[in-house]
């Protein structure tokens, strides 16, 4: 079972490495969206520092959502997804592996670039630490929930914007606790624990249920 998980994970990572831009575009989209806000809102240090966590989290939401559009699309178009449905492996395991690979390629880079972005918004070092932690716990949840939407909208025209309509409302809890954690961190570090614990709990629940839901959605979309 672990062997199957690992095979699919390695496969998706290899594929991404062989056409690198797909990975970089998400990262740069994130950076661009984050960089746009100060231009719209004004560049006062204090305003930016209050805004920072929210903006970073909304940008992460949007980036992860847009990237999700491609999660199953390539495999759908060349028929490998169909073949995956026909293997003797539990489909939700395969989906989990694909989501894991997707997160490593699009979520993790966001976590790693967060310090740079935090600097743009003049966040304190402690806040940047909490932001990285909250992104580390939150972005996988985004990928997991988004996978359901991606599976449902597979092969539809206007998929991108339709996907966002389905998925963005579901992202709200993550957004609230993720950005909440960062905002609180500026006041007293000890307080962030409940936020982090909640995000962790979301992650556990999503990791268990989202793959099942996504594989059901995939079976429907491939009929």
């Amino acid at each position: 079972m672990f062997r199957v998980f690992w095979t699919v994970l390695k496969r998706d990572l290899t594929l991404a490495m062989r056409r690198r831009t797909d990975v970089l575009t998400t990262l740069f989209f994130f950076v661009i969206v984050v960089s746009l806000f100060p231009l719209g809102v004004g560049t006062e240090r204090k305003v930016l520092a209050t805004l920072g966590p929210g903006v970073v989290w909304v940008a992460a939401l949007l980036a992860s959502m847009l990237a999700l559009e491609r999660l199953f699309a390539a495999d759908y178009e060349d028929g490998t997804l169909e073949q995956m449905l026909l293997t003797a492996q539990p489909l939700s395991l395969l989906v989990l592996a694909k989501v894991a690979a997707h997160w490593l390629l699009t979520g993790l880079p966001l976590v790693l670039i967060a310090p740079l972005v935090g600097m743009q918004y003049h966040l304190s070092d402690a806040a940047i630490g909490v932001m990285m932690l909250s992104l580390l716990l939150g972005t996988p949840v985004l990928s997991l929930i988004g996978a359901i939407g991606a599976a449902l909208t597979l092969g539809l025209r206007g998929g991108g914007i339709l996907l966002s309509l389905l998925i963005l409302p579901l992202y709200i809890p993550i957004l609230v606790y993720g950005s909440g954690a960062v905002q609180v961190s500026d006041i007293a570090i000890a307080d962030t624990q409940p936020y982090v614990a909640l995000l962790g709990a979301f992650l556990m629940v999503a990791a268990i249920f989202a793959p099942v839901a996504s594989s059901a959605a995939l079976r429907i979309s491939l009929e």
Binding site: R20, L24, F28, S35, L39, T43, M119, H122
Partner: protein
């Protein structure tokens, strides 16, 4: 005469020329780097006084200004080749534009990075939404956009032309972006940033800065030509002269 020029501009004849030039550029790069760094670190004062006092960190200038310049010059060169390619439909110019882009993107990133590392000790922050900084960031995005668009299109010819057009549109937009950030409030546009002035810089510093700029130029030539050779090989793979080269390489 014009005919001669086009013959020279064919990939087949440019490939060996580039191959012979690359080592020359490497030697020049190393020599200039050695001089520039030596001069910059040992022939300049540790601290600068004056209206804008600077401690040792000002030595970042020897890489910051050259990288910032290179980032803009290389973009203009890129757009130049792209435009020539679009107008005259010459394959080599598109290849040139392609070969320049990654080096330009690297220099742009380095300008941002070195600027940030200078800003922290000097302004007390790694980043600010200063017009110059922001438009340098926009330039970086344009480079990335060029590269991303090119690699997203499988058909090389379409990729060449599409990304060339994008680069040209970008060139028109960069000044507008710079100006709009520089002057976000049209009511008080007079408050323009004062442009730094090369004349005010002390001689030794200016000297090593210019030497470093030259070194980066040489470096850009070297890497661009190396990349160009790879691009030529990939694209001309089925032509006879490439096959000759391959059999020669195989024997060697």
């Amino acid at each position: 005469m014009a005919l001669n020029w086009f013959k020279f501009a064919s990939p087949a004849s440019f490939y060996p020329i580039a191959g012979r030039l690359v080592p020359v550029f490497w030697v020049l790069t190393l020599a200039l780097l050695a001089v520039g760094l030596y001069w910059g670190f040992f022939q300049t004062a540790d601290q600068l006084g004056g209206s804008n006092p600077q401690k040792e960190y000002y030595r970042i200038i020897f890489i910051h200004v050259p990288t910032a310049w290179m980032s803009m010059w290389l973009y203009m060169i890129l757009v130049g080749w792209a435009a020539i390619g679009l107008v005259f439909n010459t394959r080599l110019s598109f290849m040139m534009a392609n070969a320049v882009a990654p080096t330009g993107a690297i220099f742009t990133f380095l300008a941002l990075w070195t600027g940030a590392f200078w800003g922290r000790p000097s302004w007390g922050t790694y980043w600010d939404w200063d017009p110059r900084l922001t438009s340098e960031l926009a330039l970086f995005f344009l480079y990335i956009g060029y590269i991303a668009l090119h690699s997203a299109i499988d058909d090389t010819r379409r990729a060449d032309r599409a990304s060339a057009l994008l680069a040209i549109v970008g060139l028109i937009m960069v000044p507008v972006i710079f100006w709009s950030i520089n002057c976000p409030d049209p009511n008080q546009c007079a408050a323009l940033h004062q442009r730094s002035n090369l004349m005010r810089i002390e001689g030794n510093i200016l000297f090593s800065m210019l030497i470093m700029t030259l070194a980066f130029w040489m470096y850009s030539f070297a890497t661009t030509f190396m990349r160009l050779r790879s691009i030529i090989l990939t694209r001309e793979a089925e032509s006879a002269w490439v096959q000759d080269i391959l059999t020669k390489e195989a024997r060697a």
